[in-house]
Structures are given as C-alpha cells and as structure tokens.
Amino acid sequence: MKHALKLFSVTLALFAIAGFATAQERATVLAGAELTRVVPTGFYFQGLSAPTQMRNTAAARFGTTRFVIAGLVDTSGYSADVREKYVGFLITDSEITLNGESLPAGAYGFGFGTEGKLTVMDLAGKNLLSVPITNDKEMRRPRPLMMSADAGGVRLYNGRNYVVIAAK
C-alpha cells in the first residue's frame, strides 16, 4: 500500500510539474501587430540577404518570452541550386524540437524537399536536421506558410504539409 501511495504521489507530482510547465510554455500563435513586430523584413542566407514575403510569415510565443519565427523569402536572387533547397527562415530564441528532434536557439534556413521532409540548414546552407512532414488532408484553406496551435506546440504548415514545433 505504502509503495502504491508513493508511486501515486510521485506520478501526481510529475503530472503537476508537467502541467505547470505546459501552462508556462503554452504556445500562442501571433497575429497582427504582434506578428509584424517580431518578423524581420529580410534574411541573410548563403551569401545573400533576401526580402521576406511578409504575407507568408508566422510566429509563435512559448510561455511569455520565448519566440519561434518562420517566413518565406523572395528567393529570385539565388541560383537554381540554392532555390531548390531554400525557401525561408526559421528563427528561435531558445531550444525547440521539430517533430521531436532538437534544434538549438539560432537562425536557420529551411526548405521542403521532394522526399517529403523539411530540412533545416545553417546560414551557410549546411544541412543540420531533416524531419518528415505530415499531410493534413482536412485543412480547408491551406496557405504557403502558417502556424496553428497543436496539442504538442504549434504546427508549421507549408500548404497542407506540416511539422510540429514544441518548446524544449
């Protein structure tokens, strides 16, 4: 009985801590002025700075002070091989996970490969991380890039395809 109670208390405490942490790190998708305040108007990647497509940007706040920002850029100034792999930027001011894979704080480029993965690159274009994308057939009005709340964090969408970003 004592053992069971101990296990119960520990479990409860773990759930309470997890619940508190979740409440603390709950993801809020930003819109309007809150969004434009955090999105950069241009982004440096592999030797060029390209303007952000402001209509295709999204950001989320985890808790009160942690931000993740994503946006598509105008890649018309890049060579064909760069355009094949790079479509936009991902900026995070704290460690996050993409579909469970860790990504430290930093600014990155990303692209959607034909193999059904989202690839994150450093600013020199070196691949850092590749995670599979999920197709959301039910999505009624897909857009080139958007975020929506998800139980585990936020979904970063490209059309109907998405990955889940969570705070770590």
Binding site: A4, S76, T114, G152, N158
Partner: protein, 614 residues
C-alpha cells in the same frame, strides 16, 4: 469469492500501475505515431525562377503545339486574311524578350463604338524602347469598323485611337452615360481615356478627367461600385520599372558570368519576382464627370504591391453591391467584397480565391467570369504559368469558393500551357458555357528545350458537358491546330448569326479572327441592355445580371467590363437556348438593384431592352 486484505492491496496496486501505464501510453502514443508517420511527397513546391509556378515536369514531346484530332469537328474558321486585321502587326520590345515589359502586351476589345448594331474590334499594340526614346516610329493600336458580312474598315486615324504608347489593356464603358461606349487604354507609361464623341472620333480626356495613370497599368474594369449611376474605374498596377536601371538581360548575365535570372536553370528575363510591384488604383467618378483616386479610402490600393494583371467588377454574392476581383501574377489573388459604405473588405484568403487548392500562390494572368454550372452564382477561371494548371473556382455561395479544376477536367491538360486570355462562351448554343483559353510562353528559350512547352502555343477550347469540361480537338489544318504567342482575347457575335466569334491579339504577330462555324441547331438570344440613368443605373448597364429560364433550365449572364486578359468582350449578352424555342422567364437585375421581368416574344435575335423608368 473472497480474497485476503493483502491480495486486495496487491490488486489495487496492480490496478493503479495499469492506470499509470494507460495514461502514459495515451500521452506517448500520439508522439510515437507522429514520429512514425511515413514521409509524403509534398503537393506544393516553391517555384524556380521569377514566377510562381509548379514543380518542373519532364515530357518526351511538346504538348502545346501540333496536337490534332482527325475526328474533331470544325468549330472555328480563320477569316483574318479576308479582313484588314491581316495588316495589323503587334510589336512589343525585341524578339529576345530581355525584359519583362517586352512580354505581356496586349489586349483586344469587341464593342460597338458606333452603335450601329454591329460590334467592332480594337487591338492594343505594344512599343519598343527605341520608340519610347523617340528613335523609331511607335507601333499603333488599331480600330476596325464592322461593315457586316465579315467586312471591316480600319478607322484608327479617323477615330484618333492609335495610342502610340506601350499599350497593354483596353476596357470599354460609357463613363459619361451619353449612349456611346468609351475606352480606357492601360499603358506602360501614361494611360488614356478615349471619350467617344459620337461622330466616329474619340478624344483622350485622361489628363482632363484625372485618370491619366502613370506606371504600368494592366487589365482595368469599369463598374459603379457606389451606386450613384456613374461608372468608376479600377486599374491594377503590375511592376515598377526604371528604364534607366533595368535588371540584367539573359545575354548580359551570360556575358558577365552572373547567374542572373533563370527558369529551369536557363537564363531568362527577370521578374516579376525580385522586382518591386505596383499598387492598384480605384478612380471614383464625381458628379461633375471628373475622377478622384479613392484607392486608399476604399481599401483597394494593394499596399503589398502584388503584381496585378486582370480585374473585374462583378456581383460575387446576392447583395446589390458590385464586388471586385483582382488576378495577380506570382502573388495571391484578391477578392474585394463591397461593404456598401464606399469601402471594400479584402477576402482573398478566407474565400479560397487567393490561392489554389494546395495553398500555393500562382502566376495569375487572365480571368473568365461566368456561371459555368448554371447554379445562379458566378464562377471564375484563372490562367497561370506553364508547369502549373489553370484554376476553376466554383462559387459555393456566402463568398466561398472551391478549386474544382481537376474534378471539372481542366487541370492536367493545361499544365504545359502558359495561359493568358480566357473567356466563357457558348459556342454550340446548348445553354452550357464553354471555355476558350489563349496561350503562349514568355521565354523564347523554351523552344530550345525539351520541357513539353513551346513559345507559340495552341489555344484551348473546352466543351461544357453539364459542368464538366472536355477538350475539343483541333482538326488537322484547322485554325485551332495553329500555334501563336497569344495574349488578348475578345468574344462577340461579329456577324449576327447567333454564334459567338472571337479575336485574338498575338504578341509580335498578326491577330487571328475566328468565325464560329459550328454546326449547331441550338437556338439563342442576344440582349443589349440600356440602363436608366435617372434610376442610378449606368446607361450601358455594366453591373446588370440577367437570369433566363427555359423550362427547368436557368442561366445567368453578367454585363461586365474588363476581365479575360487586358481585354473586353462585347457587352451584348449571349444565351444559347438549346432546343428551346421560347423563353419562359427573363429576369433582369439592373445595376440600381431593381428587378424587371421581360416578355420575350421570339428567340434567335438580339433584343434591346431599356430599363423601365417606373
């Protein structure tokens, strides 16, 4: 069965452990499942080069030229060479197409400028950098008066409408309600408003009236958005160009070793992506006949500067207010819903019209407006770049649209084509609106590659089979088997035989005049509407909606200015009636919102209907 207290505790312990396990599993399983979700091929991919288009596809042969069907019926006959239109040569920039302004000109119009009941033809011309600098004679637009029996007389000089600027678009509308259609000609440079003087001549009054728009004006549309009975004018802007600071041409890029702008890895002209777009302009007509720029106040100034190509004032919903659609190149389309207080609400994204079904921006060019499925609501067909399909948006009501392109049979076939002018027409008079699409590429280099596409392209004709479309093949040797670098398109019954004809304006080439010779037994009715200015309907009835019923079959037509691609269809409405020899009900919703029932005593003719004053 009894058990000891110890065993009860053990059982509770086990029960609790199972509960913890279940809770943990229910939390973990979705993550495990998510991590195990197999990778899927994305259905949308960012574009290559200066336009928003789909993923590059590989073909073993060209799909845009030389496609014929020996069993196909003859629908159109080329009558160009029997008319003075054969002498018209469109010209826009140099053949290499080094710069973006070399490629998208120009529009065409079918409208009855002399009110003799026979629709006439206007062809917009482009220009050259040398002509802009005064170093060579500027190409001229042309007006052809319809004399009947496929005889036309060129009256450009007499009418004074040669333009001689870098022309792109034409939109007809009787802005001063004097019963004579006027013309707005959208230019790269300063645009013109040709007032019809009623004696066969026109006067450019753009400066005087405040619509001498500078910049790059494209497919304009007339419409009375505020219900004061006077036509207003919307003009999309495309790209801001500084002729003194042009982006590198493909040859310059190759020479300098710079990658320059590319399409599928091959150097091409730059743009529109990477170039600064231009805002749009709404001119409100004041009581004194002059115009004021109300773009910002009305919320249609396009602050994001999308690359505007085509527009139309049209009733998207059932209220009495004219809405506005703008088709943009490589940026989202805009749908402006009229709020009734002089302003519009942009609803492109929530309506589903901004993007295609996969949420991808496309290189929008032309716009067909019509109720293709006869459900009483107006639908849209938008043409796009090669490697991408044109899109048919079905109007679901309540300002909602669904991309039904592939279900309707218009997807796969259009992918290798680069579409421009598109228009619904009922070529066989069966009561179902068919579709005609004009095509042609912007990069001459495509002819040296195996990309499945070509610079000159065949036009596409689709027959409407009760809401689904099938391509009408081109008989060998027929005009539809020919390929052109097509741009503008205008539809109208030029010979009054009850079959809709058309004219195509081709880039750097002669136009094509197509006579409809389809063997059809379908009856028809043409309608010329005259609005009552005293009741605040514009005299040319732009904005009117007509519902025609034969038996259980109800069709809708809208009196429209603009759309197609920088072009103007005849304002006379055409209804195919199929086997019906009488009209059971003809209902006109006039621009002022009033409704009138008209008694139709005979078909197979054009009726002129004047709005009843009481």
């Amino acid at each position: 069965m009894w058990s000891s207290p110890r065993s009860k505790i053990r059982r509770r312990h086990n029960l609790f452990s199972k509960l913890v396990l279940v809770v943990c599993c229910s939390i973990l399983v979705p993550f495990v499942l998510l991590a195990q979700t197999p990778p899927q091929k994305p259905d949308a991919q960012e574009p290559m080069g200066g336009v928003k288009t789909g993923p590059a596809l590989t073909y073993t042969s060209r799909r845009t030229v030389g496609i014929t069907d020996p069993n196909a019926p003859v629908i159109f006959e080329d009558v160009t060479d029997k008319t003075p239109l054969a002498n018209f040569r469109h010209r826009s920039g140099e053949a290499a197409k080094d710069y973006i302004f070399d490629t998208p000109s120009g529009g065409a119009a079918i409208f009855d400028y002399d009110s003799d009941g026979r629709p006439d033809i206007y062809l917009v011309n482009g220009s050259t950098s040398a002509a802009m600098r005064g170093k060579e004679k500027a190409p001229r637009a042309a007006l052809y008066r319809n004399l009947g029996n496929w005889k036309f007389e060129e009256v450009t000089d007499k009418a004074g409408v040669a333009n001689e600027r870098w022309g792109f678009s034409v939109a007809a509308g009787d802005y001063n309600n004097d019963g004579r259609p006027d013309m707005f000609v959208g230019n790269f440079g300063v645009s013109r408003l040709y007032r019809n003087n009623g004696d066969g001549t026109f006067t450019d009054v753009a400066e005087k009236l405040g619509v001498a728009r500078k910049g790059w004006s494209t497919g304009a549309s007339w419409g009375d958005y505020d219900g004061d009975g006077r036509l207003d004018l919307f003009v999309p802007g495309y790209v801001q160009i500084d002729l003194g600071n042009l982006p590198p041409s493909p040859s310059e890029a190759i020479k300098s070793g710079n990658a320059g702008c590319q399409f599928r890895g091959v150097p091409v002209m730059c743009g529109p992506r990477g170039l600064t777009g231009e805002g749009d302009t709404l001119y409100h007509q004041k009581a004194d006949g002059t115009f004021e720029d109300v773009s910002v106040k009305a919320g249609v100034n396009d602050p994001e500067k999308f690359y505007g190509f085509c527009s139309a004032f049209v009733h998207v919903n059932d209220d009495k207010l004219l809405d506005l659609i703008v088709v943009n190149d490589s940026t989202p389309n805009q749908l402006y819903i009229n709020k009734g207080d002089g302003a519009f609400e942009e609803r492109g994204y929530p309506s589903g019209l901004a993007l295609n079904e996969n949420g991808r921006e496309q290189a929008g060019m032309g716009l067909a407006v019509g109720d293709y499925d006869n459900d009483g609501l107006v639908d849209f067909h938008i043409t796009n770049f090669s490697d991408d399909s044109n899109v048919l948006y079905h109007n679901d009501g309540d300002n909602n649209f669904t991309d039904v392109t592939f279900q309707a049979g218009l997807g796969e076939v259009s992918i290798p084509f680069l579409g421009w002018g598109t228009s619904f027409l009922d070529f066989d008079n069966d009561g179902w609106q068919d579709l005609f699409v004009v095509n042609g590429h912007v990069y001459p280099v495509v002819d040296t590659q195996q990309w499945g596409t070509s610079y000159a392209q065949q036009a596409l004709l689709f027959r409407n089979l009760k809401g689904k479309f099938e391509r009408v093949g081109a008989p060998p040797g027929n005009v539809l088997a020919n390929a052109w670098p097509g741009r503008g398109l205008a539809i109208g019954d030029l010979d009054g035989d009850g079959r809709e004809d058309l004219v195509i304006n081709n880039l750097d080439a002669k136009p094509v005049l197509l006579r409809n010779v389809a063997s059809t037994t379908g009856h028809w009715l043409g309608l010329r509407l005259i609005g009552d200015v005293a009741k605040k309907s514009p005299r040319d009835a732009i904005g009117a909606v007509v519902y025609l019923t034969t038996g259980n079959f109800r069709q809708r037509r809208d009196v429209l200015s603009g759309a197609v691609y920088c072009s103007q269809n005849d304002l006379t409405l055409h209804f195919g009636l199929g086997a019906a020899t009488k009209v059971d009900k003809l209902e006109i919703k006039w621009p002022d919102g009033s409704t009138e029932l008209i008694d139709v005593r005979a078909v197979d003719r054009v009726m002129t209907i004047t709005q009843r004053s009481k």
